[in-house]
């Protein structure tokens, strides 16, 4: 498939999934709104705890309370983008699909796997509540900080979110690839990764020991998904240095995740799903 065909098909599929998402809110408004509210409450509770603590102490982890508020808003936007682009059909929680032997469902589709993974999770309406909330929190924080927002800054905000999302998804796909070899044990590993990321990324890492800080920005790059981009955007970290780190990290993370995922997929193509017994029961 050529690049032109690829993108044409990509956007057609995005449009299709957007229509399906819109259909959900039209047909089942009550439960759709309940779902949006649920995401909102869940995320807000995690973020508000850290903010309240920062407010109480006038800051935490080398950031004042308004900067912490911006970081939490950034975190909510990252989560919002995750919900919009990969939350549907367990595309973000890919270890579930692999562990349950459902890769077969994808491999028999007359559509490249990468296109399915890029589009199947798209929920632009029901998944957007968190994004708007995050943007509002960022706006309030910037207003309280009296921070000058320019077009260049907005472009940087968008770019850093793209890089954050690549790093986050790479972490999830890297860990989830284990499910190709250990389908039962690793079926829920993506949930564990997301839980840790979700909670730990709310804390500023500024006052942590150097070893831990390096580990949280390299081995398990949670700090690169929210903390470092927030520092760069708030001008507390040099732009060229911060951006270079994010670009390199996103490239390395994507390479590692893709390599392991492809390796796992090859294993899966040889062995198939080991999850179900002959009479259909799940192991």
């Amino acid at each position: 498939m050529g690049a032109k065909d690829f993108f044409r098909r990509l956007f057609r599929l995005y449009w299709l999934y957007a229509k399906m998402d819109a259909a959900w809110i039209m047909r089942d408004t009550k439960y759709c709104l309940i779902g949006i509210l649920a995401d909102f409450i869940g995320n807000l509770s995690v973020l508000s705890g850290v903010f309240l603590m920062a407010e109480r102490f006038g800051g935490v982890g080398g950031m004042n309370s308004d900067e912490v508020l911006f970081m939490l808003g950034y975190n909510a936007v990252t989560t919002g983008l995750f919900l919009i682009f990969v939350n549907g059909n367990n595309i973000g929680n890919i270890s579930r699909i692999i562990g349950r032997g459902q890769m077969d469902h994808k491999l028999i589709q007359p559509l490249p796997l990468r296109l399915q993974l890029l589009t199947e999770g798209f929920m632009p309406i029901s998944g957007s509540g968190q994004l708007w909330a995050g943007l509002a929190v960022c706006g309030v924080a910037l207003w309280r900080l009296q921070y000058p927002v320019t077009v260049g800054w907005i472009m940087l905000f968008i770019l850093s979110h793209i890089l954050s999302k690549i790093i986050l998804l790479s972490m999830m796909y890297f860990a989830s690839s284990l499910a190709f070899w250990f389908p039962v044990a690793a079926e829920e590993i993506s949930t564990d990764v997301l839980d840790v990321q979700w909670h730990l990324s709310s804390y500023p890492l500024g006052q942590m020991p150097m070893v831990l800080k390096i580990a949280l920005n390299t081995v398990v790059p949670i700090g690169l998904t929210v903390w470092l981009p927030s520092l760069v955007l708030l001008g507390k970290q040099r732009l060229d240095f911060g951006l270079a780190i994010l670009l390199i990290a996103a490239g390395v993370a994507a390479f590692c995740a893709t390599t392991l995922f492809k390796k796992g997929l090859k294993h899966y193509e040889k062995i198939g799903s080991q999850r179900y017994k002959d009479w259909g029961h799940r192991r």
Binding site: D28, G42, V46, F57, A185, E188, V196, L212
Partner: protein
């Protein structure tokens, strides 16, 4: 009693069926969350902030909260997804449904207590975290917290039975309770604007926050125990009543 012990044994086996990798991966993630948090508190308290708590108290609070996560914020399979087969299985067994879910939950705790909490408790001195309770009143407080945790979780489960497809909402509220309202992560004493004083009076405040405050000695035990006892006496009858009214509405979506 034998039938409930059988349920506990069954759950232990079920939990181990994913293999040690499944268990230890989950424990590794918990540890991975705990260690940075301990250093975050160290950094914050050593920066000279004025607080109602000392650094050792804060470290103990966080550490015990991680060791006893499942007991401090009880989550039973009953408030799990209706798409699973847990509810149907419980209905088919010759046991009382609430007691059966209690046995299943306790069975699910055992291997975590043995394989995660115990080693972590032994490792506490190495991390410089004091883990001896300030007073023996911690134990009755923990028991009351567990009892109230079951009652509140069963209410959430009934809420799910009634709303059917709103499982995700109930789950999210449940998580919000865990992370903010119960005081399991951030002590009420550290919340600004007196929010902690209000949360402490709520039934959720008698969950994790109360035993942890007693354990670390940041609050007097008797008023907290009285509040816990009150909420247990107030909520358990409501739970049983709500369950009896809701059980017939159960619709399982899978198995």
């Amino acid at each position: 009693m034998k039938r409930y012990i059988a349920t506990i044994k069954l759950t232990v086996k079920e939990k181990l069926s994913g293999g040690l990798l499944a268990l230890y991966a989950s424990y590794a993630f918990r540890l991975f969350y705990l260690v940075p948090l301990l250093y975050l508190w160290r950094g914050l308290f050593q920066s000279g902030v004025v607080s109602e708590m000392t650094l050792p108290q804060m470290l103990s609070y966080t550490y015990i909260s991680a060791l006893l996560t499942e007991q401090l914020n009880v989550r039973t399979p009953m408030s799990g997804w209706l798409s699973g087969d847990g509810f149907i299985n419980a209905c088919k067994r010759p046991t009382h449904i609430l007691a059966d879910f209690t046995a299943q939950t306790v069975g699910g705790w055992l291997q975590t207590l043995l394989l995660f909490s115990l080693p972590l408790a032994l490792a506490a001195p190495l991390l410089g975290v004091p883990i001896l309770p300030k007073t023996i009143w911690f134990l009755p407080s923990l028991l009351l917290c567990v009892s109230l945790g079951f009652a509140i979780d069963f209410i959430f489960a009934c809420f799910i039975l009634r709303l059917k497809n709103a499982t995700w909402l109930a789950y999210s509220i449940r998580m919000a309770v865990t992370y903010l309202f119960s005081g399991s992560l951030i002590p009420f004493a550290l919340l600004p604007w007196g929010i902690g004083n209000w949360l402490r009076l709520s039934p959720f405040g008698s969950l994790a926050g109360a035993p942890l405050a007693i354990f670390t000695g940041i609050e007097a035990p008797l008023p907290l125990l009285a509040a816990q006892l009150f909420w247990n006496l107030a909520i358990w009858p409501l739970t049983i009543l709500y369950f009896n009214k809701s059980r017939e509405r159960m619709v399982s979506h899978g198995g």
